[in-house]
Symmetry: C2
């Protein structure tokens, strides 16, 4: 952030009075521009014992598999965000069940939520951000080609809970991944 | 939003290609400025059967009672946000237990999370944004002077669960409140 979105003047990084975190503060109008984590919301949509995954057509992680998920928008609820993202990315209508996983990813300022859901009518396709969508039985899940650690976490927890016959709420915090070795 | 925070040029409201929601788009550099819901996170801190509430020293709802809670910051987890807000508003250290309530407030672009927690050592005070803090037994809770509906929801659910002896995860969606009658 370089300029004030209210008045267009340059902003400085400064700790406002009574605060203890540096914020972008407008030199002219004094507006304090807070920055807050964003929510990424998706769902674990089941159909006849199989799970719906999408292969990403966009960066990051182009070509890898993910649960349908994306940034929550203003004016919607968390469950509506999960259903909307599934419709957009997998052309699939779902009946949202309940909140299943919350994953903190603090180093990228995100909180990921995953809902359990049931695919309606077994119908799905590939939205603009997906190369393809597919239903996977447990043994078919491409663990080595998963796009995001939060998705692998939620999926493993779901499979474990299905085995036990009891679905809970699962939470975890992700640290930054180790650096990729050069070459 | 009137100006681009990247380059300082005016922004227009327009639906970007492939999108279906109007966004603030910079006339000069083309940056799309997404706006997303913010998380408000707090906790239900218990001590010897009583619950810690704070009386607000700031607007909105100055003078009314609330659970310690506030906007989640970048670079922290949801549980850390709950503990930090409790320290800031009630000068109280807590041991965070688990996620207890998720309340959508879509008309103000917020998602409220409340954690169950245990007050450490029974110590608390009044932070800069609180007039006072106090421990309340169930019969003493000032329901008519509660600052926010999400707080009342979480508190009632907690008291119900304590009565049943089982703590679950509680979710609800709040609609805009009815308009205040004139005069």
């Amino acid at each position: 952030m370089n300029f004030c979105s209210q008045c267009g003047a340059p902003v400085d990084l400064a700790v406002p009075p009574g605060d203890n975190v540096p914020r972008h503060v407008c030199r002219r109008c004094g507006t304090i521009h807070y920055q807050n984590p964003r929510m990424v919301i998706g769902c674990i949509a089941e159909w006849e014992g199989r799970i719906l995954l999408c292969r990403r057509a966009i960066e990051p992680r182009l070509g890898l598999w993910t649960l349908p998920a994306g940034f929550m928008e203003n004016n919607e609820t968390t469950a509506q965000a999960a259903a909307r993202e599934t419709l957009e990315e997998a052309c699939a209508e779902v009946e949202i069940d309940r909140l299943f996983a919350l994953v903190n990813v603090p180093h990228i300022h995100q909180v990921h939520l995953f809902y359990t859901a049931r695919l309606i009518g077994g119908r799905f396709g590939a939205g603009a951000e997906s190369l393809e969508s597919r239903l996977f039985a447990e043994a078919e899940i491409p663990w080595q080609e998963m796009a995001f650690r939060s998705v692998s976490f939620a999926l493993r927890a779901w499979l474990d809970d299905r085995r036990r016959g009891v679905f809970g709420l699962h939470t975890t915090d992700l640290a930054p991944p180790p650096p990729t070795p050069p070459g």
